[in-house]
């Protein structure tokens, strides 16, 4: 999966101040997560959906993302309706379907989709690096910010390392089968990946030291709140407050 597929674009949603994006996503998520009325949570969908429309995001990758989330939620639908004690609305042989369980499952489904859509609309439309900078502007501790950034940055390197190794195996005629040779080769692959990534991280630290790194990151871009940042921040906050009132 492409990692920053929604970040390219030039709508006003993309250009919002990343600090605003992070804060309103956070507030919105908390408010939605706390709310226990299916109808109110359903209404909360208005905000992320309209933001996504404004950002003119591609629908296909969006559906793929939602598919992943709802794949997990599917499991809840397999269990919750049958196991939550409550009013029985349907009997299916030895199984009984309870109203309470249906309600719970529905609530979780709508909540998750609303929050995920909000995250895609707000966080997905910025590059990771912008978000990282914004986090340090929001006084998130340096260590956490660095951890977050390097995790993202080096997933790519490890992925490339993996392709390099697996290509090296393929060009010498390796085809996975169910035998000892396959298992051994795969364990070498994983082992090499670990060792190489470790070595690489050590070399990167060395390279950073050679360029005067002393455990402190300096930021090149500074942000400035513009009038439309304030407008969006205020209206989203008002919307969140509206949902909070009907908690």
């Amino acid at each position: 999966m492409e990692m920053e597929e929604f970040a390219a674009g030039d709508s006003w949603v993309h250009k919002l101040d990343p600090r605003v994006k992070i804060l309103i996503t956070l507030i919105f998520s908390i408010v939605v997560a706390l709310n226990n009325h299916v109808s109110m949570v359903a209404i909360s969908l208005i905000l992320p959906v309209s933001l996504i429309i404004c950002a003119r995001l591609d629908f296909r990758p969006l559906l793929v993302r939602l598919g992943i989330v709802n794949g997990f939620i599917l499991f809840l639908w397999l269990f919750l309706p049958f196991t939550t004690p409550g009013e029985i609305i349907y009997t299916l042989g030895p199984l009984t379907v309870q109203r309470e369980g249906i309600h719970q499952a529905l609530l979780i489904t709508v909540k998750s989709n609303s929050i995920v859509l909000m995250a895609i609309a707000m966080l997905g439309t910025s590059t990771i690096f912008t978000l990282v900078h914004a986090l340090s502007h929001l006084y998130v501790p340096d260590k956490l910010v660095h951890l977050f950034f390097f995790c993202f940055r080096y997933i790519h390197v490890i992925r490339e390392e993996y392709f390099r190794l697996s290509n090296a195996m393929k060009i010498r005629g390796f085809r996975p089968r169910t035998n000892m040779h396959t298992y051994r080769s795969y364990s070498y692959l994983v082992g090499m990946l670990l060792v190489r990534s470790f070595d690489r991280s050590a070399r990167i630290l060395q390279a950073m030291k050679c360029r005067g790194f002393r455990s402190r990151f300096y930021i090149l871009h500074h942000y400035e709140m513009k009038s439309h940042d304030y407008a969006v921040a205020l209206s989203s906050a008002a919307f969140s407050a509206f949902i909070l009132v009907f908690i």
């Binding site: 005067g212 402190r216 090149l220």
Partner: protein, 220 residues
Amino acid sequence: MIRLRNICFSYAGREILDNLDMDIEASDRIGLLGANGCGKTTLCHIIMGLLTPTSGIVEILGKPMVSESDFAQIRGKIGFMFQDSDDQLFCPTVIEDVAFGPLNLGQTPEEARKTVRRTLKTLRLDGFEDRITYKLSGGEKRLVSMATVLAMEPEFLILDEPTTGLDEKTTETLIDILKESDLGYMIISHDRQFVKKMADKLLQMKDGKVCPSDWNNMKM
């Protein structure tokens, strides 16, 4: 500028450097040649303080280098380019990567931006500011690595196999840039043409030692 005395170093009992002595002046333009795996990269890492020798003295600008903080002081003065550019570049965009060194040296973001622009220009990399570093081609990565080193305005350069993976045109660019600058440097390379053009002084590494050499008795 750099003085090494009786440097010994071994990896897991295998001796790589054996009582190595070396003197480098700030204005030297050195080519260092040696067989694969003879310890050239190891030597550079010892000069930069990334590896600690088992014995011997590293002296830079007349001061013995003992602790990490001694080395931290001089790393802005000696620019070191790694053999593998993927180790050197770690920021998402070129501008941020090149600005990393200058910001560490205390430049303000505005000054750093200017430095980046100037450095990219000298390397014929105008317009690369917002390119994504890990999506650059091998040769472009190499030049950007070079930019990250030059942006710190070092007094001396150590380049570990700078021409590996560069096409002729880019190699020419690199030659021009180094010739135009009045920096001293030490280049490690297998590219004999390149070394011939670049170096006034030839050194050869053999059996864990460095000795002066010239083209006549080079039989590589």
